[in-house]
């Protein structure tokens, strides 16, 4: 029972965005997807959720091919947290989080749905914002809402596309902790594209490293985030280590 990609390729406008990706995501683990801009992280995530169709290769959810799943069923299996963008035309926090139940709405009563959403708002400390418009929130609060929406989807897999890029230090830590907590508590399998190498090393069970559309390495952070690898993939020299159990990756210079 995994979310797996096999030999995934996607070409757009003559360019290969991703090529030959093999990846498996199991429930209960947090995998961080790393790589420089343009490495294909967002592309891969979109292919995994069926938002984009790969040119070739297969995506399978729990041994079933992705195209065979009905859209709504897919939404109950995979949840997607996008990079936040755009105005939301006056929707409030409760309504945004309620959208997470969209794929479930034909199978439950309105009351049950309201209760579920209220519980999620509590869990993510969003209850004070319940009736505020989404657009009036700060970046960190917005990200919390999107994660809460994904949580409410009650999916088995969670795909997050750079959830912390626009956040300040504290909210970065909070968001990542929340995702980690979700993985640990509910057993969802989470794949998170992220820029912050130290955070990835700290929170992930496994690291997947991408470069120019290909998966170049996968495994424990100590094996993947070596200075040689970093120079090769990111083009920077860096110190890598641990302080009191917290990993760090400190870029030093461009060689």
């Amino acid at each position: 029972m995994t979310l797996s990609a096999r030999d995934l390729h996607l070409k757009r406008g003559g360019r290969a965005l991703i090529g030959g990706i093999d990846l498996t995501l199991a429930p209960g683990e947090l995998v961080c997807l790393l790589g420089p801009n343009g490495a294909g992280k967002s592309t891969l995530i979109r292919c995994l959720d069926g938002i984009w169709k790969p040119t070739s290769g297969h995506v399978a959810v729990d041994d079933r091919p992705l195209p065979s799943l009905h859209r709504a069923e897919l939404a109950r299996t995979i949840a997607y947290v996008p990079q936040h963008s755009g105005e939301t035309m006056g929707l409030d926090v409760t309504q945004i989080v309620t959208l997470g139940r969209a794929a479930h709405r034909h199978r439950e009563s309105a009351g049950a749905r309201r209760a579920l959403v209220a519980a999620a708002l509590q869990r993510f400390a969003l209850a004070p914002f319940a009736h505020r418009t989404f657009d009036s929130l700060s970046g960190g609060e917005k990200q919390r809402v999107l994660i809460a929406r994904a949580a409410v989807q009650e999916a088995r897999y969670l795909l997050l596309d750079e959830p912390t890029s626009a956040l300040d230090l504290r909210h970065q830590l909070e968001a990542l902790s929340q995702v980690r907590a979700m993985v640990d508590r509910t057993g969802v399998g989470a794949l998170m594209a992220i820029h912050d190498l130290s955070a990835a090393a700290r929170f992930a069970d496994r690291i997947a490293l991408m470069k120019e559309g290909r998966l170049v390495a996968m495994g424990d952070w100590r094996a993947i985030l070596t200075p040689e690898r970093l120079r090769d993939v990111f083009g920077v020299s860096a110190h890598v280590g641990e302080i009191k159990g917290v990993p760090y990756v400190l870029p030093t210079e461009v060689p």
């Binding site: 979109r46 959720d49 069926g50 938002i51 859209r71 709504a72 069923e73 897919l74 939404a75 109950r76 995979i78 949840a79 997607y80 996008p82 963008s85 755009g86 105005e87 939301t88 035309m89 006056g90 929707l91 409030d92 309504q95 945004i96 959208l99 997470g100 969209a102 794929a103 709405r105 009736h131 505020r132 418009t133 989404f134 657009d135 009036s136 989807q153």
Partner: protein, 344 residues
């Protein structure tokens, strides 16, 4: 910003609309009392003794002149508002409306073309009229809304494209004026600005049925519209909605409603812009609530505009399309120029 979410707001709005409609029906050169009016309106279903003492002329005025006009204004307002809400949800753009993206002018062109081709007699002619308006409006919608789904197109560019198409179809309609005979010209000029002056029961029936059929379709898409508003195609897909199917359904319903309205009331701008805006301010962006509320606001707005057009310069009637423009243009500019959040 918090919003009122009391469900009774919709009920209150509905009641206010009914009162406004009754008031509007009573306004006119011939003075008819409210009680007499109610008796006249209910006379088909009441025992004849109730309406025996009513002046037949008054009853005829109410039921053949005033009531169709009131109803057409309300239905047109509701249709344009609902279409506006739906289009704004799909494109995540508060500047989008049947008028600003050229769909109303396109429908007008189609209707004019139909008039030139066949004259405007008979109900079968009416159906062809709406059909021609629909096809023409659909062409425009495909162009503009198709543009909206392209990645990298900013909201302002979309509206600019819509304005361009507006001009194009307006120019096409003007060209038709040149090749029209005098009689046809009089009819075509009618369409340039919207008016409910010539409202008849035929028009009320057709537009009413279209509204009654399309509004539930849009309401059924309310969840999907919320998802689109929340994050566009990708988020909607990830939440389990069939993106293409939703786009097509919403576009078809919105365009059909617009085409029906334009076929009988001409081009009325800005209702599809103002009503959704007011609706969002008062009941928020949840389409399950916004759609019916904005429809009520749109109906009321057009009723008020028609009233103003009739009463302010009596006995000269200012077409409702002109009055609405005075309200709509300042709002449009405000929406265009206000600082927005991160661009979509």
């Amino acid at each position: 910003m918090t919003q009122t979410r009391q469900p009774w707001l919709i009920a209150v709005a509905g009641a206010a609309l009914l009162a406004l409609a009754l008031f509007a029906t009573l306004q006119g050169v011939t003075q008819i009392g409210a009680v007499e009016a109610l008796r006249a309106l209910l006379s088909p279903i009441l025992p004849s003794s109730w309406s025996a003492d009513l002046v037949p002329q008054d009853v005829a005025i109410l039921t053949r002149l005033r009531l169709p006009r009131t109803l057409l204004a309300a239905i047109a307002g509701a249709s344009l508002a609902a279409a506006g809400v739906a289009m704004q949800g799909i494109t995540r753009n508060p500047l989008v409306s049947p008028y600003t993206i050229g769909i109303s002018p396109a429908a007008s062109f189609g209707a004019c073309l139909a008039i030139l081709a066949m004259g405007e007699r008979g109900l079968s002619g009416q159906v062809m009229l709406v059909g021609a308006a629909f096809v023409s409006a659909l062409v425009c919608a495909v162009l503009v809304l198709g543009l909206a789904s392209l990645r990298g197109i900013s909201g302002t560019v979309l509206v600019l494209a819509g304005v361009g198409l507006s001009y194009l179809f307006g120019a096409l309609t003007s060209t038709l004026q040149f090749i029209a005979t005098e009689q046809q010209l009089a009819v075509i000029v009618h369409w340039a600005f919207g008016s409910v002056n010539g409202a008849t029961w035929d028009g009320v029936l057709v537009t009413g049925m279209v509204l009654a059929a399309c509004l539930p379709v849009l309401l059924a898409q309310a969840w999907a519209l919320n998802a689109f508003a929340a994050g566009g195609d990708e988020v909607a897909a990830s939440l389990g909605f069939a993106v293409m199917r939703t786009r097509v359904t919403v576009t078809l319903a919105s365009v059909l409603m617009t085409a029906a309205v334009v076929s009988f009331a001409g081009v009325i701008g800005f209702v599809g812009l103002i009503a959704p805006h007011v609706g969002r301010l008062l009941v928020g962006g949840d389409h399950r609530r916004l759609l019916p509320f904005a429809a009520i606001v749109g109906a009321g707005l057009l009723l008020l505009a028609d009233l103003a057009g009739r009463l302010l310069f009596a006995p000269v009637t200012v077409p409702v399309g002109i009055v609405v423009a005075y309200l709509g243009v300042p709002l449009f500019l405000h929406l265009l120029l206000r600082p927005r959040g991160r661009a979509s």
